[in-house]
Amino acid sequence: MLAELGFSPRRVAINGSLRPPGADGGTAPRPDLAMVLDARGDATPVCTRLREDEDLGGVPIVVSVEPADLELGPEMLEAHELIVAPFTAAELAARIARARRAVHGIAEDEVVRSDRLELNLATYQVTVDGEPVDFTYMEYELLKFLLTHPRRAFSREALLSQVWGYDFYGGARTVDVHVRRVRAKLGSEHATKIKTVRRVGYRWEA
């Protein structure tokens, strides 16, 4: 059903590593969503582990439960969204959209907005005042990450591993360089929204 909605799901066991494997044996890119299935009483500890994981911390969580599981009580609120099985694809899509909006501020139409800046996740396009701004892929990915994790400061290392995902010869300074490029392209008004946090890294000021 997730595949029908345009996702490429990868399955992990709840008692093993929660980070999904990549196509060629390495680790996969950071997922857009975590869906917890058939976990019963383990759902809450799994949610806690997901939230505390360094790489998966900000990923929206949808927990699928059986009607009987609802009696397990309020700790189920660890999830960003619950869905009671059986459900339809349309309901799942709606629940996923709600979870993503709750976590990242992503609207129904896959657009993230911050004042007059719009970033469209479906088309990769960014506009300021309706005018397109042309980013390279990594600049776009960095802006997307900061914009969808507002008000949280990230270290250069965290951004390197979350956005670039591999350490190439640009090193940690790459992050500074890309931040500078993104700021230059955003123009003065929005450039200041990427705050430099002294001795930490960067933060998107919503």
Binding site: D134, Y166, R173, T174, R180
Partner: protein
């Protein structure tokens, strides 16, 4: 962590979607020849998906500069990470990607300058080091004039840091900076230079490969703005005999993770590693001059005073040394760097950065000792930089470091180009000769 394959696939997807959303009509595939001259193949977007996958075939002798011998098949693979919509095509939208050039069997083409630089960067990365490069690029603007026998006419009589109305170039610089920023090339500063109609733009530091790409893009952006404004721009190292030439001062620092290894507040102005790196750059400077200063005309800049370096030397305060070690902010880690002052903006930036980094790394690996600092006069026994292209090419050709870094094929192509240039120059009867000899002899 995402793997390289995952990233390449999402990069390609990004390129395909952007082309569609932005209505891009043509994509220009860029590569440079061994002299750093930009070449471009335009492909219609209908071909883009295939080209991203399979590359595009071309005659590799196009990369050998002017002095090519035989055709050879090579394949240019666009690097989707360098995809960028070009800001100077407002009506029909075009984009560019820089290419990696390979032989049909998939191995890197020995004449690919980008690959030569990447190879050195990979070696540095293996010992945990990354190089950051900043560049100050100078150029002249002249009135559009089609007759090359007439001397070029500057647009203004402005000088150092002059502002309007003497400086007709401030609009020009503003426009150029807008283009550069739209292309993700942040500018630190720009000002009118010492000579009439001479300008300088400082590019903010970045990793060496991005900077070489940025310098290449920069030169085209400047020429595009010049075309829009009906003037012409030149990166010729010494266009006016009695004025300063145009250089490209290169600022270098080395990082281990987030730590600048040139920084040492106790030892200042450079750490022991920084001193060994600098010693390496100085020890090999003469061998590299054929690349940092690759044209017959480059040596007119080096010979002509105006603070251009003539000797292998370093300094903190003096004016015309080969390397300056800025020391105005000794407490700031980010400011610890060296400034190489010999390169001119008409060099091949890929080969220039590759060789300078390799020379510095050799200094570190072999523990070269840094000699004394120079004052306003060269130290006794200071070695002079090559006086002309011929001398530079001879030093370059016999350099073991150069051969190791660039490979024999690349070296030989380079030398063949430069020898041919020198031979043509040798045969030229100049104004100097006519004015001295025509009547007197």
């Amino acid at each position: 962590m995402p793997t390289d394959t995952d990233l390449t696939l999402s990069n390609r997807d990004y390129v395909m979607r952007t082309v569609e959303e932005r209505g891009v009509r043509f994509v220009r595939l860029w590569f440079v020849d061994v002299l750093g001259m930009l070449k471009s193949i335009a492909i219609p977007v209908t071909e883009l998906e295939t080209v991203l996958e399979d590359g595009v075939g071309l005659d590799g002798s196009a990369l050998e500069g002017g002095a090519r011998l035989a055709e050879r098949d090579v394949i240019a693979y666009p690097d989707p990470r360098t995809f960028q919509v070009l800001p100077w095509h407002p009506t029909s939208i075009a984009a560019r990607m820089l290419c990696d050039v390979r032989l049909p069997d998939g191995t890197p083409f020995p004449g690919d300058s980008r690959h030569a630089l990447r190879r050195v960067l990979t070696q540095a990365a293996e010992i945990g080091l990354t190089m950051q490069v900043g560049a100050e690029i100078e150029f002249f603007l002249f009135e559009e004039e089609t007759d090359p026998s007439k001397p070029p006419v500057p647009l203004d009589r402005g000088t150092y840091f002059d502002l309007t109305p003497l400086d007709d170039g401030s609009d020009f610089r503003r426009r150029t900076i807008e283009y550069l920023e739209q292309m993700g090339i942040p500018v630190k500063a720009s000002h009118h230079e010492v000579a009439p109609s001479q300008h300088e733009i400082k590019l903010a530091h970045t990793d060496a490969l991005s900077m070489a790409d940025a310098v290449t893009t920069f030169k085209l952006a400047v020429k595009e703005v010049a075309r829009e404004q009906d003037v012409f721009a030149t990166f010729m190292p010494k266009p006016l005999e009695h004025e300063s030439g145009s250089g490209m001062h290169v600022h270098l620092s080395l990082f281990e993770g987030e730590r600048n290894v040139f920084f040492d507040p106790e030892e200042g102005p450079l750490s022991a590693t920084g001193r060994a790196f600098l010693a390496g750059v100085l020890a090999h400077a003469r061998e590299l001059t054929a690349v940092t200063n690759q044209w017959v005309n480059s040596y007119k800049r080096l010979a002509g005073g105006f603070e251009a370096p003539e000797y292998v030397s370093w300094t903190r305060h003096a004016r015309s040394a080969l390397v300056r070690v800025p020391s105005s902010r000794p407490d700031r880690e980010a400011a610890a760097r060296i400034e190489l002052r010999s390169p001119d903006s008409a060099c091949n930036p890929y080969l220039c950065f590759a060789l300078v980094l390799a020379a510095g790394l050799r200094g570190i690996e072999r523990g070269y000792q840094l000699g004394g600092e120079t004052g306003d006069e060269p130290l006794p026994g200071a070695r002079a930089l090559p006086e002309d292209l011929r001398e530079a090419v001879t030093l370059f050709e016999s350099s073991e470091l150069v051969r190791e870094v660039l490979g024999d094929r690349m070296c030989d192509w380079y030398v063949r180009n430069k020898r041919r240039e020198w031979d043509e120059y040798r045969k030229t009867v100049t104004e100097f000769e006519r004015s001295r000899y025509l009547r007197a002899l």
